[in-house]
């Protein structure tokens, strides 16, 4: 039986979402809560949300797990997929066919990139930080080489553009896809063999080894999923911007980590909840849109993100309970 347990952290993050939305309504006027703005905010969540889910998985796997190569792989997936799909399918005659080919190819690139990360980390035993730093440079370098360092316009491709921007029943398609992916991931982390083994591996690698868990295969699978998630982000980015570019979202590496930590994922491994990461990504997006509405500079927004990250780390160490509890 799947039960949605509402623990304190989930409630807390949910409350933050409501609070930020309310603050938006007060500070930025009613325009902030109309369906158009809500939809445009929702459509902006998946790119970062998917990358943050990747970072979450890597962090859960423990032993300094992290994925710095996500956004680089996302951009590379978009670039390669567009280049190859263009030569396979005529864009103007069969836009739908083209879009599916594009998406399929992007997923293949993500799969390959993820397997590469997984092999290097699991079998060559490189620290995840160094491995994904190296592959980040390799992916970015390849993307620069293929595009000569400039953005590649894709033109208006209706099905792809619809996927990025069109709301169906009030929910933007790409956001719906993000929710589905998050739900599948959240379910498998809690209720499948893979998820349980991953949590155990992250919290105590030695015990996991003695418990008969195949550590190498687990790491390979985990980082492969990270790669696939990154390529889905790449498809969303391409669809929403109608172009692919090697340096799109250069600050996403850090923001994805921020979202994961905001969502309560432990950088030491073994703990993390998908629903919390999801709520963290929406909270960050609402806050970011609010800053936009109020014409607050991007620089100040980054300052807020940095302080937020540090305060979160601090709050994880300081237990408020000891002060809130009545005197013994």
């Amino acid at each position: 039986m799947v039960r949605l347990r509402l623990d304190r952290q989930t409630l807390f993050l949910g409350a933050i979402n409501v609070l930020v939305l309310a603050a938006g309504a007060v500070l930025a006027g009613n325009g902030f809560l109309d369906s158009y703005n809500l939809q445009s905010m929702a459509a902006q969540v998946p790119e970062l949300g998917l990358l943050a889910l990747g970072v979450t998985l890597a962090m859960i796997s423990g032993n300094g797990g992290i994925d710095l190569s996500g956004i680089a792989l996302a951009n590379l997936a978009g670039i390669i997929a567009f280049g190859v799909a263009k030569s396979l399918v005529p864009v103007d005659d069969a836009p739908l066919m083209f879009s599916w080919t594009f998406a399929g190819l992007a997923l293949l690139v993500g799969l390959a990139g993820g397997v590469l990360n997984g092999l290097i980390i699991a079998y060559a035993r490189l620290t995840p930080l160094i491995a994904t730093l190296g592959t980040q440079l390799v992916f970015t370098g390849l993307a620069i080489y293929l595009t000569n360092g400039s953005a590649v316009g894709m033109g208006y491709i209706e099905p792809l553009d619809d996927f990025g921007n069109l709301p169906v029943l009030g929910v933007p398609l790409c956001f719906a896809l993000f929710l589905v992916i998050a739900a599948v991931l959240g379910f498998s982390l809690v209720y499948t063999r893979f998820g349980v083994q991953l949590m155990l591996l992250g919290s105590n690698a030695k015990a996991a080894r003695y418990g008969g868990i195949n550590e190498k295969r687990m790491l390979l699978v985990t980082y492969t999923i990270c790669g696939v998630l990154a390529s889905v982000a790449g498809i969303v980015i391409a669809a929403r911007n109608s172009s692919v570019k090697w340096d799109y979202g250069s600050s996403y590496v850090l923001i994805a980590i921020l979202i994961a930590v905001l969502g309560g994922v432990k950088p030491d491994g073994g703990h993390g909840k998908v629903i919390c990461v999801l709520l963290a990504s929406t909270a960050l997006q609402i806050l970011s849109s609010l800053f936009n509405f109020m014409n607050i500079s991007n620089f100040f927004r980054d300052l807020a993100w940095g302080l937020l990250l540090l305060m979160l780390l601090a709050s994880a160490r300081v237990s408020l309970g000891t002060w809130l509890r009545p005197n013994r």
Partner: protein, 343 residues
């Protein structure tokens, strides 16, 4: 740090050349970096003998100075088992605020005072990193990602975003000062900048710190195993604050050198360099998990990164492949070092 001796004597079998080279590599990982540097140079020279011109060599040295200063700081942090990605933000904040201060308040400030203030400012910001890392007991990567955002956006929000085209006279003189001017046959003058001396001093001080002081011992001990280090009576708090402050200090100096050699203070500069610097230090043989690393190896790593960024064009490889090749080097070097450590 060197655990090679224990194995000798037990294993008396004569070993092949390959095996001995492999063991040597484990003891001195920087030899691998040196091999990569030499191999890259040979390939470039064969492909294009023009590379050996004095002006090119001087350019590479010039481009290595700021990277080298950063890398010395990162080396010390890595040796203590931490990681720092905020040093470029510290450098940008210090260089820009200081340039502004000198221009507005004390235009005649001598370069020695400027460098001391830069070092102090950088050290203060770095110490804050160390303090947070220790008090929150959080991964230093995540803490310094946070402080990087805070430092950089503090600079851009509250200090300024406009370029300074006219930098203070003292900084300008530092940037123009040259140790040696070479006039080639075709009449092209190339001068070895005096800023190279700053890197030389920093390298010697870092070497002395790591290899000849108690603090150096403590740094490697904490990097190797913090729990055991603490039981040996090493104060983790002091070591952590010290290494981050040291990285900040060098970053502050690197910021001033950067302004001096570019004759321009741009608050958007230096951003995004941090991963490349960490890559250079790792290429130089320092383990990301701490407890090892040498100054010579790090300098070679910096040289390799600079070489790759500057010389591809001579070989006819498009410069767009630069990042790809640096990434490949990291993966290869990382794999070889890890395999060696296991063996």
């Amino acid at each position: 740090m060197t655990d090679v001796i224990s194995a000798s004597g037990v294993n008396e079998k004569p070993r092949g050349l390959g095996r001995r080279l492999w063991d040597l590599l484990g003891a001195r990982p920087e030899l691998f970096t040196l091999t990569l540097v030499i191999a890259t140079s040979i390939v470039v020279i064969i492909a294009n003998p023009d590379f050996l011109q004095m002006s090119n060599l001087v350019d590479i040295l010039r481009a290595s100075v700021v990277r080298g200063l950063f890398a010395m700081g990162v080396l010390v942090v890595l040796a203590a088992g931490g990681i720092d990605v905020s040093f470029t933000a510290i450098a940008a904040l210090v260089m820009y605020a200081l340039t502004m201060l000198v221009i507005d308040v004390a235009p005649g400030m001598p370069i020695a005072v400027i460098l001391v203030i830069a070092a102090a400012g950088g050290a203060l910001l770095g110490a804050l990193n160390g303090f947070i890392v220790h008090r929150l007991n959080a991964p230093s990567l995540i803490v310094t990602i946070g402080t990087q955002y805070v430092y950089r956006s503090f600079l851009l929000t509250f200090v300024g975003t406009a370029l300074f085209m006219n930098i203070p006279a003292a900084m300008d003189r530092l940037g123009r000062a040259s140790l040696y001017t070479h006039i080639s046959a075709s009449g092209v003058a190339s001068s070895l900048p005096a800023t190279v001396l700053v890197l030389a001093v920093a390298a010697i001080v870092t070497w002395f710190l790591l290899e000849r002081t108690l603090m150096g011992r403590a740094i490697f001990a904490v990097g190797g195993n913090p729990l055991i280090a603490e039981r040996l009576g090493i104060n983790l708090f002091t070591v952590r604050v010290f290494v981050f402050a040291y990285a900040g200090l060098l970053a502050g100096i690197a910021g001033v050198v950067h302004v001096a050699s570019n004759r321009l203070a741009n608050p958007f500069d230096l951003a995004g360099m941090e991963l490349e610097i960490i890559a250079a230090v790792v290429l130089g043989g320092a383990r990301i998990t701490g407890g090892s690393g040498t100054v010579v190896g790090t300098l070679l790593g910096v040289l390799l990164i600079t070489l790759v960024s500057n010389v591809l064009i001579f070989v006819g490889i498009p410069s767009t492949l630069q990042l790809f090749i640096v990434g490949l080097f990291i993966l290869i070097a990382g794999t070889i070092f890890t395999l060696r450590n296991r063996g």
